[in-house]
Amino acid sequence: MKPAPFDYTAATSVEMATASLAEAGDDAKIIAGGQSLVPLLNFRLLRPSILVDINSIESLSFITETATNIRVGALTRHYQLETSPVIARHLPVLSCAMTHVAHLAIRNRGTIGGSLAHGDPAAELPMMALLLDAELHIASVSSARTIAARDFFLGALTVDLGGGEIVTEIVLPKLPARTGWGFAEVARRHGDFALAAVAATLTVVADAIVEARIALTGVGRTPLRVAEAESLLVGQAPTPYLSGQTVEAVRAAMEPDSDLHASADYRRHLAGVLTSRALAAAWRRAKESAA
């Protein structure tokens, strides 16, 4: 339960971090909050030759607002997201989701960039990045690129991030006016990884849904957006029939695994129930915001 020996360097800038990564080759790991990495080190499932600590890169910790976007630095802690007034005003669904992320001691340390780069298939933040059409900024020693969240998650704990790359910023477009949101999760204990969780937004104009988003986590190898279900809702007002159709589309889109905590069938059932709850809450909030 003690990590294998490793070397350690504390970077104070992104340039320093990427230079250290490039020098070390594929054997280096970035440590941000360390809340997923350190257990893997303790179990010796990972044995990096060197840890590049980015906790001292102050320029990576921020939440700022532009006319159309919320920009979040990769080193921003979960607790900062949970309690940010900017997030509460513009992305309340994210504020809500953050209260489901692990426990306070973990939210104090864990970072948004770390959670996305780790890509746990039952974590909340990858799902929220998908729901909110996030874009990730990624830097390496020689280049910088951006990638949409929908292209970033490739498999369980597998993301489109090279050994020499570091996530620097997450850009979250503000939600349109008259958008309601819903979030529903079931976990064994509060703060545990989700058995299934659903986040949804509905943008409603004149009693009709003009945009629908449905994202899930815990129900497959990566978080999911369910375009088939979203398109069913556009142009409609909710009815029990439509809700049933939507739930069926969501259940059809997922490929959950069975494990110690829940069977695939139970997860599929749960995801449907949570979808209808999240959509009902989103509709109610959208109507309230129009009133």
Binding site: Y8, F43, Y79, A105, R189, G191
Partner: protein, 161 residues
């Protein structure tokens, strides 16, 4: 073998300088290097919460942080709260409400509760339960722990009135 690093950490108000291997957990640094055995080590992978301490005022799992990362930081352990004969209010509340049985989880419960009370209103028992959900008590003495925190939160609200 990796070389050691010199670190200076302020623990419970006192500055300590030591040479540490990068892989040394903060928990082991506190217990083995400094002899502060109040911090308990349960699962060593961030699940049980027994090793919770405050770093720069925020609760963290000291088995998920390396001592080298605490360089130039301020750490507070359960020893900072008080001692027999001069317990702080939280410890008194735990004593009063029988909020410990074997005592193994208690340091983590106390440090977690310290941070929870600072950051959340804890208006309902459910909010206390949620706040403690990352701390395991294998005696399953949760009810009394919740009662102790409830009593202290209520008495503080009373005094603030």
């Amino acid at each position: 073998m990796s070389t050691t690093r010199d670190i200076t950490v302020t623990v419970n108000g006192e500055a300590f300088t030591a040479a540490v291997e990068p892989r040394l957990h903060l928990a082991d640094f506190l217990r083995h290097t400094l002899g502060l055995t109040g911090t308990h080590v349960g699962c060593e992978h961030g699940v049980c919460g027994a090793c919770t301490v405050l770093v720069d005022g925020d609760s963290v799992r000291s088995c998920l942080m390396f001592a080298v990362q605490a360089d130039r930081r301020r750490v507070e352990t359960v020893e900072s709260l008080g001692h027999i004969g001069a317990m702080n209010k939280l410890q008194e509340a735990f004593h009063e409400h029988h909020a410990l049985q074997c005592g193994f989880c208690t340091p983590g419960m106390l440090m977690t509760a310290t941070d929870l009370m600072k950051k959340y209103r804890l208006a309902s028992d459910d909010s206390i339960r949620e706040g403690l959900s990352g701390n395991l008590c294998r005696c399953t003495g949760y009810e009394h722990i919740i009662r102790a925190i409830r009593a202290l939160v209520d008495s503080k609200a009373e005094n603030a009135r």
